[in-house]
Subunit: 146 residues, 3 copies
């Protein structure tokens, strides 16, 4: 069995933003030499998720609007008071809503491989879903297999 691990650096510009990393993950898979197995795309962050869905710009707006509606930025979050009180040692962001969105979407996705390629279909893209940008993020791509 072979295990390969790489990082993908993300530099988000907006507060909530979907970045398509499909090509980058495909490259890592292609260079891994692994033909059968799985690729794990993992976000080692508490306010950035991994999502697999259709890369259509108006749909991405829908995703953001649904997330805003389910976990409104305008609500009060207890965590924001915590961040306020420790702002000397933290970045003091009011990002309670970002953590809650992250809890709903999760921090990883796993995709099976076949003959050296991810088994994603034509309409599936892999996104980093930034919930608290702009920020720099490192996403981990790990491939296990034969």
């Amino acid at each position: 069995m072979k295990i390969i691990k790489k990082k993908i650096a993300i530099d988000s510009k907006g507060q909530v933003e979907f970045t398509d990393i499909t090509d980058k993950v495909e490259d890592i898979v292609a260079h891994s030499g692994i033909r059968e197995g799985q690729v794990l795309i993992y976000s080692p962050h508490t306010t950035a998720s991994i999502v697999i869905n259709h890369n259509e710009s108006m749909l991405l707006q829908d995703f953001m609007r649904v997330l805003y509606r389910l976990v409104p930025v305008s609500d009060r979050y207890s965590h924001d008071l915590f961040e306020l009180n420790r702002s000397k040692t933290s970045d003091g962001r009011s990002n309670g809503h970002s953590h809650c969105k992250n809890m709903l979407l999760g921090v990883s996705q796993t995709v099976p491989l076949e003959k050296g390629k991810m088994m994603i279909t034509e309409r599936q893209s892999i996104f980093v879903a930034e919930m608290d940008g702009p920020r720099k993020r490192d996403i981990i791509v790990q491939i296990m297999g034969l």
Copy 2:
């Protein structure tokens, strides 16, 4: 290490529908000869998810009602305008809501194995959660282990 991969064909009848595939996944696990490891159940689709929960018909109604309430079909989705405008090359479905539900539920589940069996307990069933039926779907079951 051994890696086995099979497909399960789904033919959904309703718009939102939960199909129990536990027996089919169990069969694939039993025939794989793999005793320890994991099974990945993966939906290569942007409007169909994999869910593990209790197969009780009234609870499935609750699941659908919660999904309808969180992401109402009756809302406007920008993606629906996109589909309308390109209806010559697409199937023109107003399925923005289906993509959003899929984003919330995700496209895969992973279950550990023990002595050749999935470690699901009595009340756990594995479902394909159709969000944009009726449609034909191919679900991928991949087993990795020893």
Copy 3:
């Protein structure tokens, strides 16, 4: 390839409760002798989830409040009638809401390993998210790798 499997016993006190099991999972990883690979944290239950996020007590209140708002305990759930009618053979809990929350959060998380340690960052903790406590739970930790 090596595969190690252990259980973590949880004894929740509240109805909805987040229990941090990061240290316990780290111990299992450290004793496994596996240096590269993955750890799967799996809940074999229909009303308890696994969540990775920041362990900050006011944020945990936000998580619970968001879950209560998205899937209110005070709504009617068809499943509760089912449980009522079969109360001789079940525990008769009105836990439709717990199953729905579990559907949204999922039953597992996968974390990659590097040099014998989980690649979680400073702010990430691993939680069992109890949705229908108080209850005893057994969480499965499975490590696959080299």
